[in-house]
Symmetry: C2
Subunit: 377 residues, 2 copies
């Protein structure tokens, strides 16, 4: 079995630290958490999205060599916003040869202006088709929201309830981008429209941050959780090529495979961290993962079933929406929160029943989906 034997992360938000500094902070904490020295790590993956255009730094595998002072295989993985989840999947493949394996997800975005960042985010979509005609990311997800509303009667109020839940959870997570921000329904529903029907509070923020996890073939501490499944699937880069905008095909394929690997069903998942880059993405995730039938997730949202107190808590850390979205780190942050919950170390947001947790990490407009299922010790 493959275990997670160490975790570490920085605060998310607009931070002072450089990309290498963020990486070093998260790695140091994961090493301490696992009682390992830098030279114990046998292979490493760094997951990062826009180091090229935003901080003029690629070749981050070699940067890891500099940070760890070792010469191990160290490789950068980029799958847009799913980079972190995909990196953890690659690390599990590498575990066959190398043990332990480090995954560090990191992104530095706040040094650039929001329009500059928005332009770079567009590279996660299809430059040649969608982006050229103005189908930038808020527009991609706004189209999905419009389709979901038309098909199933989902409302803006349903989406606002998702934002409210995630901001509420982030108020219990001291590392969250919006830990200090009190948000109520009125503030959400009065926020300016970004791309109809999506308002400002339907969108995740631009964050800096880094998260590290250490994988091992053996359990090192009595609290170490293990993997039940790791899968990924892809779909067309352009949303123009999709038949149905109310679901992510990559997510339905990856989750079916994950349940098969884990020999379980959606009903067996106690809690989940899902990719809520926009509130509509969380709603769609609930249906793609089988937490609700198609078109029924909004009803569950209204019934608070995905809240900390619900029967299927989702985005217990605040999600991308309120914990923050340092892109290359987000998928690894989902694993971090899952491990905290499985260990019973999530403090004020600790769930009563946290035995099996799932992570769902989407790239771009659904072009990639990586899923992991972890079971507590």
């Amino acid at each position: 079995m493959d275990y997670i034997t160490g975790i570490g992360r920085t605060k998310f938000g607009k931070l002072q630290e450089s990309l290498p500094e963020l990486m070093a902070l998260a790695i140091r904490e994961a090493l301490l958490d696992s009682s390992l020295q830098p030279q114990d790590i046998q292979a490493a993956y760094i997951t990062n999205f826009v180091g090229d255009s935003l901080v003029d730094q690629l070749h981050l595998g070699a940067l890891l060599s500099s940070l760890l002072k070792t010469n191990i295989p160290a490789t950068r993985i980029e799958s847009a916003c799913a980079s972190g989840g995909v990196g953890v999947l690659q690390a599990r493949m590498a575990l066959e040869q190398f043990d332990p394996v480090l995954v560090i997800g990191a992104e530095k975005m706040s040094t650039s202006s929001s329009p500059a960042v928005a332009k770079r985010l567009g590279t996660a979509g299809c430059a040649l088709i969608d982006q050229e005609v103005g189908l930038i990311f808020p527009a991609n997800y706004a189209l999905m929201a419009q389709e979901h509303m038309r098909e199933y009667g989902t409302t803006s109020h349903d989406l606002a309830l998702i934002a409210l839940k995630n901001h509420t959870n982030a108020r219990l997570n001291p590392l969250a981008h919006f830990y200090h921000k009190d948000v109520d329904l009125e503030m959400i529903e009065d926020s300016p429209t970004v791309c109809s029907p999506l308002r400002l509070f339907d969108c995740s923020p631009i964050s800096d941050g880094a998260v590290a996890v250490i994988l091992s073939r053996e359990q090192k501490h009595s609290h170490d959780p293990h993997f039940l499944a790791s899968t990924m699937a892809t779909d067309s880069l352009s949303i123009v090529e999709r038949r149905d905008l109310t679901t992510f095909r990559a997510a339905t394929i990856a989750s079916k495979k994950a349940y098969h690997q884990a020999e379980c069903t959606a009903a067996d998942i106690d809690f989940a961290q899902v990719h809520d880059c926009f509130t509509i993405a969380e709603l769609v995730a609930m249906e793609d993962l089988g937490f609700a039938d198609a078109g029924r997730a909004a009803e569950y949202v209204r019934d608070n079933r995905f809240a900390l107190s619900g029967d299927k808590p989702v985005n217990t850390d605040g999600g991308l929406k309120a914990d923050g979205h340092p892109i290359g780190a987000s998928g690894v942050a989902q694993i971090y929160e899952t491990v905290l919950q499985l260990r019973g170390q999530a403090e004020k947001r600790q769930l009563d029943c946290a035995r099996i947790g799932l992570t769902h990490n989407i790239g771009g407009a659904g072009g990639t989906c990586a899923i992991h299922i972890l079971e507590g010790a």
Copy 2:
């Protein structure tokens, strides 16, 4: 054993095709070569360096889904100029679960001006230390050349002989960037200085191009070669952190491990494709790989031992120097040429004795090195 069951590539140079078009051309040829359909591929890796800043396109795994019309796991690997070699290594790891696996290396660089490209190439080095003080890539390698000259008496003429050999080989490779270019020693030695002692002809060009290879756990055709070794190692991102600039530590570590995996020595390697981004890099590679003792490679160069007619032919396709250097594709191109030679299909540049071939792919200023050893059927 792991086999290479299909190969395909485009011409290298300043090409008309877009990045997706280049990818599609190389993949189509590899599928035809292996008698496979797109839907037969079970997992894929795309190796690319500067898609973000030069063509505004990241998330190339999802682009592969669009091209292949499948939903398989497809992941981008970036290890600067070693991306291709590292991608093939990751693909071998993936072969444990998925079979066959496609690797496509692709880069589109000629749409930007040379100064713009040079700035992006800097991201393969250390942005925070080297690049800030002017240690851009020609300067990195010029320092290495100066050190090698000071330590071992290597001369500019020795480097010119390497350029001449590689241009000579490229004249036998119709897909090479400089296939049509007649180059003689006078032209090389009279070329303008880029960064002393390196002249224009000591530097590899800015190329577009794509190369695809298909890996399988089973031999599909009688000519399919198999892997004897795949290794990688890293070193500090900044050259300021290195003790010795006359050797690449990542290359010596990776090659030792490769010989160990393959249960062979440098003497058993019949021919090699090495990373000659600058001529000095080929000279250093000869010593790092054990083809010559430290400080002795220049003597072997003068004796033509690395020429097609020599006892250890190196860069039979013209190398990065003259075949071209579409960065993310270069490491895959080394595998392509090795397979051609092992199959006996290298036409005018076919070697008489090509039983075991090695590829040596360097990232940045030696921050990554990936090595593969292949044996013919």
